[in-house]
């Protein structure tokens, strides 16, 4: 049967090829036939569309979100399907899932392309909080003030105030409902640490401690990769946030200075890049072919960690969700083997983490804003909501969900959540979403051999172009 399908496709192809070549040979009939072929395809499509509209006048609510490659089993798919089943409007509204598959860095471009277009614009979009200010300034997102005014959970303190701030734009209005937040740290493999003669309960105090541990691992357990951090352009925001900013904010400096100017040259940037350079020049990092492609985050989380080929991994606290029974790479023993430590500041004396998160937003061009908001409320209802956050390994944004027993008993949840106190957020600056791509270029340049100085000079040039000379500062 399958084979027949193949042969049918092939014959059709061949026939079409012949038809094409014969189309102008005189009769003209072949050409019309071929043309009919393509028009029927188009006609069928429009028929399908009109049928949809005709059947009980059901409207379609379209949701755009990121598919990281896990497909239908990804917690977000499950969450959307379950919320829809429980939704009281499901008889009037059809749900259309419109995931965007692509590398991390392609998602935001594709979303912006869609949001700008009234015809292809979805009704709900999953927005990373760093992209939100930029899309708000562009006028792509609906001001939700009027909606949240009647949303009880929003006003009675159920949502954490600190997280509401993440979806509030510079104009003081709300543009999204935050559904998760997260923290970052260092994952390490206790078994490998043991073999390397390192403590199994590990909390590095300085950056140097990490490099020393890498050196020990490289010497004593040469077959594993000592250290992995996202380092490429293709891994997008993960490179900016999980690597560069985790380091930079540990120097005491930030992306912007106190006056809101972008710091484009400083010793802190050099130090940060030097750390990354040390990792790669000393051979502590993975090969560039592993770490510089769009699959790198998945490779580390779903292959190298579970297969115990990687000792230390700087990444999100949520990645353990990959290893649970229903995760992308089930790993029954992960709780005994993996440890999670906080990222130390450069020279000791404290820890640092970056915190991000996602919101549910309604595009300005959506024609079904009321239905969309109603569905968002449905999505945010525990227990389906809580379940989805557990499956993502993230931190909830509602205090009622935070009291859920199952949620609280998740491994590493306490450690991850504890970091939230004093966590840094990315700048609420509409230009961050562009600057971040230059951060990624800078990190990749250093990882692949540029000197920190050269990479920083390029970064300074790029950022100056984006934000203007009045908005930068050199330290």
């Amino acid at each position: 049967m399958k084979k027949r399908l193949l042969s049918i496709t092939l014959t059709a192809t061949m026939a079409a090829g012949l038809v094409a070549c014969g189309s102008n040979s005189g009769s003209g009939t072949a050409a019309t036939a071929a043309q009919e072929d393509s028009t029927t395809a188009a006609a069928k499509e429009s028929q399908a569309e009109s049928k949809e509209e005709a059947s009980g006048e059901k409207k379609t609510l379209t949701i755009t979100f990121k598919d990281d490659g896990q497909g239908e089993n990804h917690p977000w798919y499950v969450w959307l399907r379950e919320s829809y089943e429980a939704w009281d409007m499901k008889d009037q509204v059809e749900l259309e899932l419109a995931p965007i598959t692509g590398s991390e860095s392609d998602y935001y471009t594709k979303v912006a392309l869609q949001l700008a277009d009234a015809n292809t614009c979805p009704d709900i979009v999953f927005e990373d909080t760093f992209q939100l200010p930029s899309d708000v300034s562009a006028g792509y997102l609906t001001n939700l003030d009027a909606y949240v005014a009647d949303y009880e959970a929003w006003n009675n303190g159920t949502y954490y105030e600190s997280l509401k701030a993440g979806s509030t734009a510079a104009d003081g209005s709300v543009y999204g409902i935050p559904f998760c937040t997260d923290t970052r740290g260092i994952w390490y493999n206790k078994e490998i640490f043991k073999q390397a003669g390192l403590p199994e309960e590990w909390q590095p105090e300085t950056w140097q401690d990490i490099l020393d541990a890498c050196a020990a691992i490289k010497e004593k357990v040469p077959e594993v990769i000592p250290f992995w951090c996202n380092s490429g352009v293709a891994t997008g925001e993960a490179t900016s946030m999980q690597t560069y900013e985790m380091l930079l904010y540990g120097t005491g400096e930030q992306l912007l200075d106190a006056d809101g100017k972008w710091i484009v040259k400083s010793q802190a940037i050099i130090d940060t890049l030097q750390f990354i350079s040390d990792i790669y020049t000393n051979g502590y990092g993975p090969s560039l072919s592993l770490v510089l492609n769009g699959q790198a985050t998945n490779t580390a989380r779903r292959e190298y960690l579970p297969q115990q080929k990687l000792a230390i991994h700087m990444d999100g606290a949520w990645i353990s969700a990959n290893w649970i029974d229903t995760g992308a790479a089930p790993w029954p023993e992960y709780q005994e083997i993996m440890g999670f430590a906080a990222m130390p500041t450069q020279n000791g004396g404290g820890t640092v983490t970056m915190s991000g998160g996602w919101t549910l937003s309604i595009p300005e061009h959506s024609a079904m804003k009321d239905e969309a908001f109603s569905f968002i409320q449905q999505m945010m209802e525990p227990p389906a909501y809580t379940k989805s956050v557990i499956a993502q390994g993230n931190i909830v944004t509602r205090s009622d969900a935070a009291e859920d027993e199952e949620y609280l008993s998740q491994p590493y949840k306490a450690e991850g959540t504890a970091l939230l106190d004093g966590a840094y957020f990315r700048p609420q600056n509409e230009q961050y979403s562009v600057v971040t791509t230059n951060i990624q270029t800078m990190v990749e340049a250093v990882a692949s051999g540029s000197t920190p100085e050269d990479a920083m000079n390029q970064y300074a040039m790029d950022v100056t172009r984006i934000v203007g000379e009045d908005n930068i500062v050199e330290k």
């Binding site: 860095s105 392609d106 471009t109 912006a112 392309l113 700008a116 992209q131 930029s134 899309d135 300034s137 562009a138 006028g139 792509y140 490429g232 352009v233 293709a234 090969s287 560039l288 072919s289 510089l292 492609n293 769009g294 509409e430 230009q431 979403s433 562009v434 791509t437 230059n438 270029t441 990749e444 340049a445 990882a447 692949s448 051999g449 540029s450 390029q458 040039m461 790029d462 172009r465 984006i466």
Partner: protein, 296 residues
């Protein structure tokens, strides 16, 4: 030219009717976008952020920034290296194969020919996949070099430009080969014969008789390859994404990274103008070549 201008005009319009559909399509989907490119390159057009809402004319700002940015220079350099490498590879290999294949046994030609053509008929995206696997650590190339005792090389990362050039040469050589084959078939055997009788060796015949008599084909072929190579985008994007860092960032990739990924559409179109500019220069040279040929 015609005496009766009115009649001539009407007559010419009537004769031009069949041109209209093509002209309309070119106007709407080719010329207007180019005009828009010129226009947008003077604006701050953006895909997101406040500039997306408020389009402003910013004069030569994009061009000024582009010309002072070292990335532009790097992208132009990369484009030229990619171009030179691809051209040299495709032309020399294409000619060599066509020359050697001449007057070989039919059976041999029908077996060897398709081997060279395989890369040409293959879609760009599949070429990219083949070469990604070919250059991987445990890929075909390393297995082969390992056989001779060489150490494993991560080609796509250590020699990224070489890798994409090789992939492009593989993809494009057959086009040159076909061009040269048909040109070589037209080289008169008599002159070769005469030269041989005069005691010239094969190499001298090649240099003094064959190459001069197909030099027009060589020129045309180089120009055609230049133009198609300038537009190569998907192959590089799929193989390296322009990286590592900016080592394979050619102008089209630079444009995508700045314009779409970086959401600076206006700046991206200024880079687009740069690509059009390079294309224009090539095309003027090309038109010049053809004209002199027609006149000669």
């Amino acid at each position: 030219m015609t005496k009766n201008q009115g009649y001539g005009f009407r007559e010419e319009m009537r004769k031009s009717l069949l041109l209209i559909p093509a002209v309309l399509v070119l106007l709407f989907f080719f010329i207007i976008p180019i005009v828009l490119t010129i226009y947008y390159s003077f604006t701050n057009l953006a895909l997101s952020g406040s500039n997306a809402k408020n389009l402003q004319f910013i004069g030569l700002e994009n061009y000024k920034r582009m010309l002072t940015d070292p990335s532009t220079v790097i992208s132009i350099e990369n484009t030229l290296i990619f171009l030179a490498g691809s051209l040299a590879g495709q032309t020399i290999l294409g000619f060599l194969i066509a020359y050697l294949m001449k007057q070989k046994a039919k059976g041999f030609r029908s077996v060897a020919g398709p081997c060279f053509l395989a890369g040409w008929v293959m879609p760009e995206i599949v070429v990219a996949l083949c070469f990604m696997a070919f250059f991987k650590e445990n890929g075909t190339l390393n297995v082969l070099t390992g056989f001779f005792g060489a150490k494993q090389v991560s080609w796509l990362y250590e020699h990224p430009m070489l890798s994409v050039v090789i992939a492009n040469v593989w993809h494009g050589t057959a086009f040159s080969m076909l061009n040269f084959q048909s040109a070589l078939d037209n080289v008169s055997g008599d002159m070769e014969e005469a030269a041989r009788v005069d005691g010239a060796n094969r190499f001298q015949v090649l240099l003094r008789i064959i190459i001069p008599s197909i030099k027009d084909t060589i020129a045309t072929n180089v120009m055609l390859n230049t133009l198609s190579t300038l537009g190569v985008y998907g192959l590089i994007y799929a193989m390296t994404g322009g990286g590592p860092a900016n080592k394979t960032t050619t102008l089209p990739i630079y444009m995508y990274n700045q314009g779409l990924k970086g959401m600076q559409l206006g700046f991206g179109t200024a880079i687009g103008m740069m690509i059009l500019f390079v294309g224009t220069i090539c095309s003027l040279i090309y038109a010049r070549l053809l004209r002199t040929k027609e006149e000669g």
